[in-house]
Structure formats: structure tokens, C-alpha cells
């Protein structure tokens, strides 16, 4: 009896899988024109107001479309929802001509009103990227007024409907990269009618004012979009299924029939999925595994310099913040100390021993070669002797009397822990100073850095749009993103001068000088430029790794 029972159970666990095997085999078979890819991580939101993560943008490019679309490795904007634009003589007025054949997935035509509705949502219910609209005449003032009174005159803003298919935008001053902005998802249109069921009212009974829209409007079956693909199914934490949009104006040039955006944040199982041909593309191979695959020479692994830099941010105010060493005098307020810290670092140790993806050692803030036509001024290479001299000049000969500053890093990131330890060692060896490294959990780390309660911290910055200002604006004195509290009027003056300059090469020269100030005065110490690494199966065409990992969905195909 006993033996029978256990034997039976044992048999059952063995036989059951085999019995169902047939079903599984069919499923593992790859399909033509059907892409299955593992996106960078969970999709956080598909709402254009609140979106800020790479994976969310990537999917948005498949399901939505703006006036222009970014293309190619250089991200050049090409006409999409608009078939053309007239730019005024003074380069301040853009008149977009919308494509009459452009349709929403419910069959409605896409009109100027849809753009205006969507753009005003970002002014009235601001999100992280609302600041991009500040270049439009009256937009900033409108947003501030609306925040206070909840009403404001839309006529004061340079966004107007000329007719159903013509949209006119007026800027404060010429902006060389305005079309790049227009190609960025926060500038995409939305279908108001489909969102009405999701309004959050200030008062559910009176319904006098719209506070916002519940993000659920982006979920199928309620989502109404205008891109080459429609979102047909969204299984939380599992998969987002996209199908070709038959109503898309350029549907004949869309190659794929379906896309599965697989959600999988486990490194090992991601790779196994790719190996088992259950995934055709891993858009960002995690840093835990990429160097290993590179060392093994896996041929599907593609990599290139990314549009982002890893660096240390240094607190620059005369006194440390109160929570750090009781607000003592800050040695890093002295530019010589910052230079000494920077010049004594062997950055190649970090890239060759820790990150191991062939990253370029960074002496400049902006990754070289990622912006066509722009060249950074050379930064300062490693020079231990000079570093020691600078530190002595600043009053700390041989590191004597230098306070034990805390060095913060985000403990969720294993690479950063190793970098912090390496730098602690190097500073001790090369400058004779002691730094105390401190691992902090992600959310607290972000809070400490954004409220400037730190001395030294490891951070990163990725550009949003293809222009130098996406990097340099971060260090304006009044910038929200200026974590270093580095306030230099000359730097701001250069940025202002560049903003007024209409001639692109001259503008780039001015910005290079501004970037040069960062590269030599070190409110930040650039360590290395990131590398994008993706695993792309040879069944896939039309995906090539590039600095922003930007893909043009129309061109992608899967063969078998």
C-alpha cells in the first residue's frame, strides 16, 4: 500500500510533463513576422504625461506617432503625422501640415485638436517632461498660472489650430532642435473622446474641473492610438501584445504582423529564453551577464557607445549639508581639491576590471561621437603627480587633515559597489586620503542626492533628445537636476549665449566651451561612457544597436 502510493506519485510527477509536451513543442516554434522581445524592464506607464523610462518610450514609438518620428542611429526627425512643415524667416513659427490620411485606431481622423489637447495636458497636469514645452511662447507662464487658479487663457500660448489639419506653433526664440522635440513622445497627440471615461474630477458630483485622467485609459481595449501597431493585450508583469494597425497611414511599409513585449527581469531566465529561441531580441543585456557573453564571443551580442555617462557628483557648496559631518567646511568647494580627486583616478581600472564591456574611459561629460557635428574640448587625463600637488596647494599635503568624507552609492546596483571600493582604494593610495563608502538602498539614495544631502555620490545621466543642451542644461545654477550645487555665472552665460545663437556650428562651439568648464572644474568626475549591449537573433532584421537604442519599428522584421 505504502509503496504503491509513493510509487504512483513519483510516476505522476514524471509522466505529466511528457504528456503535455506536444503542446509545448508547437509553442516553442518561432513565427514569421512575429517579434518577441524582452524590454529593458517592467512597463511603468504608457501615459504620455508621466512616462520617463526607456522601456516605456520604446513601446510608445510602436503604438503612437507624433508630427515627426526619429529615425536611424542619428535620430534624425522625419515627417510622420505631419507631411511637412513651414518655418518662418525668423525660425520662430512652425506651421505643421497634418497628413489627411492619418487615423486613430478607432477610425477617427487625427486632427490638430488632438495635438493641442495632448500638449495642454502636459501644461495643465505637468509631468517630468513638461519643461520641454518651455520653448513655446507663453507655455511656462500658462502652466504657472494654471497651477494657481486652475483656469488660464489658452490664447496666450503659441499653440493654435489654423484648421483641422494645420497646427501653428510659435517659439520664444529659434531652437535648432525643435523638430527633435516634436518627435519625442511627450509631444504626441491623444484621442480625447476615448479618454473621457477616465476623467478624475475635482468633485465627483459637481464635475466642474478635470484634475487628470486615470492611467487606465492606456490599457486595451480602451486605448486608442495612432502608431504602426495597436496594443491588443496587456497582461500585468507578463506580456504586452501588439498587432499591426491596419488603419495606419503607412501600413504597407510595416513589416511585422505582431510584437510581444515580454516582461522578464531575471538575468538568467532572460538569457535562457533567448537561447531557447523564445525571445528574438533582448534590448538591454544586464550588466551582470553582458561581459561574460562578450568574453565568450557570443555572436548575437551587439554593443556600441551609449548616449549616457557614468560619473561621480561632488557637492560644491562652501559648507557640507547639515546631515553630512554636521555641516563642516567642505574641502570640495575648492576647485583644486575636485581636480585632485579627478586626476588621481585610474578610470581604465574600472572599465577593464569591473564593467568589462569595452567602455570608453571618460574625460568629458558628453559621450564623444554621439552627436553629429559636435566635438567636446579635451578633458584632463590621469596625472597623479599633479593631483598630489593640487591637493597640497589646497592645504592638504599628502592628504593630511583631509576630512573622512562619505561616498554614497545605490546598493541595488552591483557595479557601483565595486566602483566605489576601487576608487576608495585609489584615493588612499594616490592621495593618502580616507573616504568612507556608504551603501544606500535605492529610494533613500535618490532622496539623499536630490535633496543634496551627500558629499560624493555615484550617478549617471542619459540624454533625452539629440542635442548638447540635454547634458549641459543639467548644471545651470537654477536647474532642478543640478545635484552638485555648482553655481557658476560664466557657465550660465555661455548657455544663454548658445540659446540665442541661430547658427548651429557657432552654437556648438559655445556649448563646447561650456562643457569644457564642467570637464575641468569637476562639479562631476566623468568615469566612463556607457555601452549599450543587446542580444539580437539573426532571424531579426532592422534592429541595429545605436547610442540611444532607438529603433524604427516599421523597419523591423523576423524571418524563419
Amino acid at each position: 500500500m505504502t509503496r504503491l502510493l509513493t510509487g504512483l506519485l513519483f510516476l505522476l510527477t514524471l509522466v505529466a510533463p511528457a504528456a503535455l509536451a506536444q503542446d509545448g513543442r508547437r509553442e516553442a516554434h518561432a513565427r514569421r513576422h512575429h517579434l518577441r522581445f524582452i524590454n529593458r524592464g517592467d512597463i511603468f506607464t504608457l501615459d504620455l504625461n508621466q512616462m520617463s523610462y526607456m522601456q516605456d518610450f520604446r513601446l510608445t514609438y510602436a503604438i503612437r506617432e507624433g508630427l515627426y518620428s526619429p529615425t536611424g542611429p542619428e535620430w534624425t526627425p522625419v515627417p510622420a503625422g505631419a507631411f511637412g512643415v513651414d518655418v518662418s524667416q525668423d525660425k520662430c513659427v512652425y506651421t505643421f501640415h497634418l497628413r489627411p490620411e492619418a487615423k486613430w485606431s478607432n477610425g477617427d481622423p487625427v486632427t490638430a485638436k488632438d495635438y493641442i489637447f495632448s500638449w495642454f495636458r502636459l501644461l495643465e497636469d505637468p509631468g517630468e517632461y513638461s519643461y520641454l514645452f518651455n520653448c513655446i511662447k507663453g507655455a511656462r507662464a500658462y502652466q504657472q498660472a494654471f497651477e494657481k487658479t486652475h483656469t488660464s487663457d489658452r490664447k496666450t500660448v503659441g499653440i493654435e489650430e489654423v484648421d483641422a489639419l494645420t497646427l501653428r506653433v510659435t517659439l520664444h526664440q529659434p531652437l535648432t532642435y525643435f523638430l527633435d522635440l516634436v518627435a519625442f513622445p511627450p509631444f504626441y497627440p491623444r484621442n480625447e473622446a476615448s479618454m473621457r471615461g477616465f476623467i478624475i474630477w475635482d468633485d465627483p458630483v459637481k464635475q466642474s474641473r478635470v484634475v487628470g485622467y486615470r492611467n487606465q485609459y492606456t490599457r486595451p481595449p480602451d486605448a486608442v492610438t495612432n502608431g504602426p501597431f495597436n496594443l491588443v493585450d496587456w497582461k500585468f508583469k507578463r506580456v504586452l501584445k501588439l498587432e499591426k494597425n491596419p488603419l495606419y497611414w503607412d501600413a504597407k511599409n510595416v513589416k511585422l504582423d505582431a510584437i510581444d513585449n515580454i516582461i522578464n527581469d531575471n538575468v538568467l531566465s532572460q538569457y535562457l529564453q533567448f537561447e531557447a529561441k523564445a525571445a528574438d531580441w533582448i534590448s538591454e543585456v544586464p550588466a551582470d551577464i553582458a561581459p561574460e557573453l562578450r568574453a565568450r564571443g557570443v555572436k548575437e551580442l551587439q554593443s556600441c557607445t551609449a548616449f549616457g555617462t557614468f560619473f561621480l557628483t561632488l557637492y560644491c557648496k562652501p559648507n557640507l549639508p547639515n546631515s553630512v559631518m554636521g555641516g563642516a567646511k567642505n574641502p570640495m568647494a575648492d576647485v583644486r581639491v575636485r581636480q585632485a580627486l579627478a586626476l588621481s583616478i585610474d578610470k581604465s581600472f574600472v572599465t577593464e576590471r569591473i564593467t568589462r564591456m569595452g567602455e570608453a574611459v571618460a574625460t568629458t561629460y558628453i559621450p564623444p561621437g554621439t552627436l553629429p557635428g559636435y566635438t567636446s574640448l579635451p578633458g584632463l587625463p590621469m596625472d597623479v603627480k599633479r593631483a598630489q600637488q593640487l591637493l597640497a596647494d589646497a592645504g592638504f599635503p599628502g592628504g593630511q587633515g583631509f576630512p573622512k568624507l562619505p561616498f554614497l552609492y545605490n546598493s541595488e546596483n552591483t557595479t557601483r559597489a565595486k566602483v566605489a571600493q576601487a576608487l576608495q582604494q585609489q584615493w588612499k593610495q594616490n592621495l593618502g586620503i580616507d573616504i568612507e563608502i556608504e551603501a544606500i538602498e535605492g529610494k533613500i539614495f535618490r532622496q539623499r542626492v536630490s535633496t543634496k544631502q551627500y558629499a560624493i555620490a555615484t550617478v549617471a545621466w542619459y540624454g533625452d533628445y539629440p542635442d548638447v543642451s540635454t547634458f549641459t542644461d543639467k548644471y545651470r545654477a537654477n536647474s532642478l537636476q543640478n545635484d552638485s550645487a555648482w553655481e557658476v555665472p560664466e557657465f550660465d552665460a555661455l548657455l544663454d549665449a548658445a540659446a540665442k545663437e541661430a547658427d548651429p556650428p557657432t552654437r556648438f562651439r559655445i556649448l563646447a566651451n561650456a562643457e569644457g568648464m564642467i570637464n575641468t572644474q569637476f562639479p562631476i568626475i566623468p568615469i566612463f561612457h556607457y555601452v549599450n549591449a543587446g542580444l539580437i537573433s539573426d532571424r531579426v532584421s532592422g534592429i541595429k544597436i545605436n547610442p540611444r537604442n532607438m529603433i524604427r519599428w516599421k523597419e523591423v522584421d523576423v524571418t524563419e
Binding site: 505504502t2 506519485l9 510533463p17 509545448g24 501615459d47 505637468p126 535562457l272 538602498e441 529610494k443 532622496q447
Partner: protein
């Protein structure tokens, strides 16, 4: 007995309310902002988000969400996964975890009790020795190792077509994670059963039963097991609550969209509404399973009738 059940059931809402308040306090005391991001967010944007999610202040939060929960049964929107309500997330992930957990618990209980009993009966023999070794492995080998090994097994050529690798699509995909999840409780149950079975086997009534001519298997499975199973039952209550609400490690390795991952992730994200949601679900499970165990105790061993039943 019915009085006991009613009495205990009446306690449940009170205990849950206390847990709610304590969890809420812990979630608010912890530093870090649910709305923070890799970039610094404009204070105006942050204020808008806080207003929208009724999180301007702890007081406002505590006034809004419990009321919402009591009147509509909703935990509110997740602060991290903004397209989903906490109820959406729980409804979606709890059944997955429960199926997986149930499967694991059935394997663990049946095999654990079976092996434990055999080991006790054949004390000092091969089965005893083998079960001890397996139990040792089960207890000391962390589930992430077992899970990773099984995951790699599923990606081998032989099994590649059988299981979806690192994905949950159909019930069969739960077999390997279920095995990984069952190993620890199985080992524990086997050891518990063996020890208490040895105890029972040496008692007088067993000798009497044998003396009056009952077969050995009849005595062991019918008379002894009923007594020996009591410690296992008291372990099963909380163990079932843990297993049925999901395991972070196993779900992470096999990429299973269960509830377990949210216990950790919601805290890391400071997703306060989701933290409260999963904690309340888990607490309800623990309370109910503990009650069920107490009731079962009475059924299995009539001598134990908790709470003044006459």
C-alpha cells in the same frame, strides 16, 4: 466548536485593522518617496501626483484609503504601476501564487508524511537514512539554487519544448517552480512526521493493536498517523499561508507573475497602497489558516477542543 469558529471569525476584522494601521505607520516612517525617480522631479509635478493619489500627508492618506477600502473594497491605485489598481494586481497574481503554492503544498505534505512515516517504521534502515539525507538537502539548500538548477534543466534540449523557459503561460509551467518551492516544507514535514511517529510507535496502544491481530500497515496508517500528524498540522497552517501567497525567490527565478514578488518590490518602491494590499491579503491568509488548523486539530484529535467547546 461552532462557538469557537464564530468567536475567532469575529476577531479577524479587529486583528486586520490593527495590522493595517501598523503597516501604514511603518510604510510612512520609512524614508524615501514613492514618486521619486532617477531624475529629480519638479515640485509642482510632485505636488500634482501627491494630490492625485491622496498622499499629500499621512493623515489624508489614512482618511482616504481605509474608507475607500471599507466602502468599495478597493485598495486604490498602485503608486508604482500607475495603470493598475492594487486590486487588479492582487486579482491577477494571487491565483498564480495559489495554484503554485497548492501544488507545492500537496507534494510537500503527501511526500513528506509518506517518507517521514516510512523512515520511522524502518528506523535505522535505508529509507530512514535516505530520507534524512534528502531532508538535510531540502532544508539547507536555498531555494534560489534549486530553482536556478531546475530552470537550467528546463532549457536543456530534452525539455525545451515541454516547459516555457522563464515564462508562465500554462499550468504545466508550474511543475518545476512547484518542485523548487516544495522541497523545504517537504523536508520539514518528513522530519516532523518521523519524530512524532517514533514517539507514537512506542506507545502502549500500538502494542495492543498489534496484539489483537491488526496488520502492521493498518496500525501505522490508521492509528498511529492520526496521532503523529498533530505537529505537522500546526506547522501546515502558517506554512500554507506562506506558500500560497507566493515566494519571492522562486517567482523571481522562474519569472512567474505571482504575488510573492510584490512583497519585496512594493517595499523597495515605497508603493504604499500595494504594500498595504499585499500585507492585508497575507494577514487574512495567516488568520484563516490558523483557524483552519485549530478546527482540524479538534477533528483529528477529539481530546483537543480549543476554546471551551463542550
Amino acid at each position: 466548536m461552532p462557538r469557537l469558529i464564530v468567536y475567532r471569525l469575529l476577531q479577524v476584522p479587529l486583528v486586520l485593522a490593527v495590522i493595517y494601521v501598523i503597516t501604514f505607520l511603518l510604510a510612512w516612517v520609512a524614508p524615501g518617496d514613492p514618486f521619486s525617480n532617477d531624475r529629480n522631479i519638479d515640485p509642482a509635478v510632485l505636488a500634482g501626483l501627491r494630490e492625485r493619489y491622496h498622499a499629500e500627508s499621512p493623515i489624508k492618506f489614512l482618511f482616504y484609503y481605509p474608507l475607500e477600502l471599507l466602502t468599495t473594497g478597493n485598495f486604490g491605485d498602485s503608486l508604482q504601476y500607475k495603470e493598475w489598481t492594487v486590486n487588479d494586481i492582487i486579482e491577477d497574481s494571487l491565483p498564480v501564487s495559489m495554484t503554485l503554492g497548492l501544488f507545492a503544498m500537496v507534494i510537500a505534505t503527501v511526500l513528506g508524511i509518506g517518507v517521514g512515516t516510512l523512515a520511522a517504521v524502518k528506523r535505522g534502515g535505508f529509507v530512514d537514512w535516505a530520507s534524512l539525507s534528502i531532508a538535510l538537502i531540502g532544508i539547507s539548500l536555498p531555494s534560489f539554487v534549486v530553482a536556478a538548477l531546475l530552470l537550467m534543466l528546463s532549457a536543456t534540449d530534452a525539455l525545451r519544448g515541454v516547459f516555457a523557459v522563464g515564462r508562465f503561460e500554462k499550468p504545466i509551467d508550474l511543475i518545476l517552480p512547484g518542485l523548487a518551492l516544495s522541497l523545504a516544507p517537504m523536508a520539514y514535514i518528513a522530519r516532523l512526521t518521523r519524530v512524532s511517529m517514533l514517539d507514537v510507535l512506542s506507545s502502549d496502544f500500538v502494542r495492543t493493536a498489534r496484539a489483537k491481530g491488526l496488520s502492521k500497515s493498518m496500525v501505522v496508517w490508521k492509528h498511529c498517523l492520526r496521532n503523529a500528524i498533530l505537529p505537522v498540522l500546526s506547522y501546515l497552517g502558517p506554512a500554507a499561508a506562506v506558500t500560497l501567497t507566493g515566494s519571492f525567490v522562486v517567482e523571481k527565478v522562474f519569472n512567474i507573475p505571482g504575488l510573492g514578488q510584490h512583497f519585496i518590490n512594493s517595499v523597495l518602491n515605497r508603493d504604499q497602497t500595494l504594500i498595504l494590499g499585499v500585507v492585508m491579503v497575507y494577514s487574512a491568509f495567516v488568520l484563516i489558516f490558523n483557524l483552519a488548523v485549530d478546527v482540524l486539530y479538534g477533528i483529528v484529535d477529539p481530546r483537543i477542543r480549543v476554546g471551551g467547546a463542550k
